[in-house]
């Protein structure tokens, strides 16, 4: 009985995804009926200029947001782990709040902020928004990596003549590198598939892949959408798996 229920739960969880993947290889445009295997929709996809543009936008946003958010988030995580200061608990809570604040609120807030400072919505505003919601995730992952970190290692490096900068590059960073990389992969994953916040702050011509997919769905689900979603799925799962491996790697 219990066994049957668990199977049902898994079917419930994964059936939609399975249907999506399977029908991305279906030769028939009508999604309901399986005809025979084809890669045609993937070929269509790679020739589609709109999708190509959206993928390029998503990659630019993802890469820039990843680099900037990883640097800032790592510094924040280090500062939180290293220093004891007045108001640390409050500061920490404020840093992690964006992880739980509803995306719809973040999106609305950002769009009113950009309006307030009279910043035209564009790809730049998308990048800024992605950086803003990603920093907290990096800080969290880096800080987790730093629990139990032996700070006397940094003192040892300085005792042996290294200045703060040399100590960071030769000792601290190599030791927290798996955490930093895991944070970076997480940011890229979050960025590449973010819809809600992006939909608020994207200007004309700043259509990212999720926005593009959504606008295509409005006119009916095609095998082309199945194909692009399947590719997105593969990339996301790959990145998350890599991030998890790094996070649980040898401390």
């Amino acid at each position: 009985m219990l066994r049957a229920v668990s199977w049902l739960v898994y079917v419930f969880l994964y059936a939609p995804i399975a249907v999506l993947v399977v029908f991305s290889f279906n030769s028939e445009r009508q999604t309901a009926v399986w005809q025979h295997f084809t890669l045609d929709w993937y070929r269509v996809l790679f020739r589609d200029k709109l999708i190509g543009h959206a993928v390029a936008n998503s990659l630019v946003v993802g890469l820039v947001a990843t680099v900037v958010a990883t640097v800032i988030g790592t510094m924040a995580g280090l500062a939180m782990a290293r220093h004891v200061f007045f108001g640390k608990r409050a500061t920490r809570s404020l840093l992690y709040l964006p992880v739980i604040v509803p995306e719809i609120v973040v999106g609305a807030a950002l769009v009113s902020l950009f309006g307030f400072i009279a910043m035209r919505l564009s790809l730049t505003t998308v990048i800024l928004a992605h950086i803003a919601f990603s920093i907290s995730y990096v800080a969290l992952v880096v800080q987790a990596r730093l629990t139990g970190f032996d700070w006397s290692l940094e003192e040892a490096a300085m005792d042996l003549g290294a200045n703060r900068w040399q100590t960071f590059w030769r000792v601290t960073l190599p030791l927290i590198a798996p955490g930093v990389l895991a944070g970076a992969l997480l940011v890229f994953t979050l960025s590449i598939d973010d819809y809600i916040i992006t939909s608020f702050v994207a200007g004309p011509g700043a259509t990212t892949l999720p926005l593009q997919i959504y606008s295509m769905v409005k006119t009916g689900v095609t095998p082309e959408i199945n194909a692009v979603s399947t590719l997105l799925l593969v990339v996301t799962i790959g990145l998350i798996a890599a991030a998890q491996r790094l996070e649980t790697s040898r401390r």
């Binding site: 032996d150 290692l153 003192e155 300085m158 003549g161």
Partner: protein, 329 residues
Amino acid sequence: MNDVILRLGAVEKHFGATAAVNGVTLEIARGEFFALLGPSGCGKTTLLRLIAGFEQPDAGRVVLDGADVAGVPANERPVNTVFQHYALFPHLIVAENVAFGLRYGKPKIENPKSSIEEILKLVRMEGLGARKPDQLSGGQKQRVALARALILHPKVLLLDEPLAALDVKLRKEMQVELKALQRRVGITFIFVTHDQEEALTLADRVAVMNLGKVEQVGTTEEVFERPRTKFVADFMGAVNFFDGFVVRPEKMRLHAAATPGAVEGKVESKVYQGETTRWLVRAADGKLLTAVEQNDGVSDAVSRLKSGDPVWVKWNKRHEVPMEEGRHA
């Protein structure tokens, strides 16, 4: 002292309202093996960190080989540290750990490779240069930490509780080895310990610290045999306090029969300690006296005494160590 390598002048360090180091003045000679001894919280570790440059003094002078280094950061001081838990870099192999400071070190080393081999040989770690720290035993880590510091030829080597992380047998071995190593390299060693026996075994001279101040400085024998304050006497295990003087327990002699000039009492308890037996005697006036007798294997009247038996305690007048006025409270 004519050849002073380190001079501390009225050094102070406060953390908030508490004075961790409260006006310490010390002179340490070139080539000396020096111990900072005291209970936890006495300021010895803070003092070591002030010398290393991890902390900067709020007041006072830290003069290293004639140059005032107060305010100079740790990476610019010709001083190196062996950390309590060694702080070996876990992502680097032994040889890379030892070579770490060479690229920053003031003394340009002509042939780094051969000097790494040389120093590993000095600490008896030859052939283990390719190991990672987590493949080493506690004693081996200790040696690598020493090699990593000594390769830079520091003017002073600081050691923070150098043997505390080792088990008893290894600790005894490392004591002998550390002493021999210091003689061979001739570098001034300053180490922190809370273990009086370790201080006595390793050091030439000791500073006993209490509440951020130095209570007494002297050779190990002076501090052990002639403690000047009640705190030092107590810390060194001299527990028989009388009005104005103290007598060490091993200087007390027990007699099973009445003896002229002896204090009469009853055996309160006896604790067998292997080489010695520790006796607690309740004197007639209610005072508790401690005596330590060698277990020399001679079965005499004293060794057969049991709890409650009458006993006479005697000591030689010249073993009475006077306590400084006003400080034996």
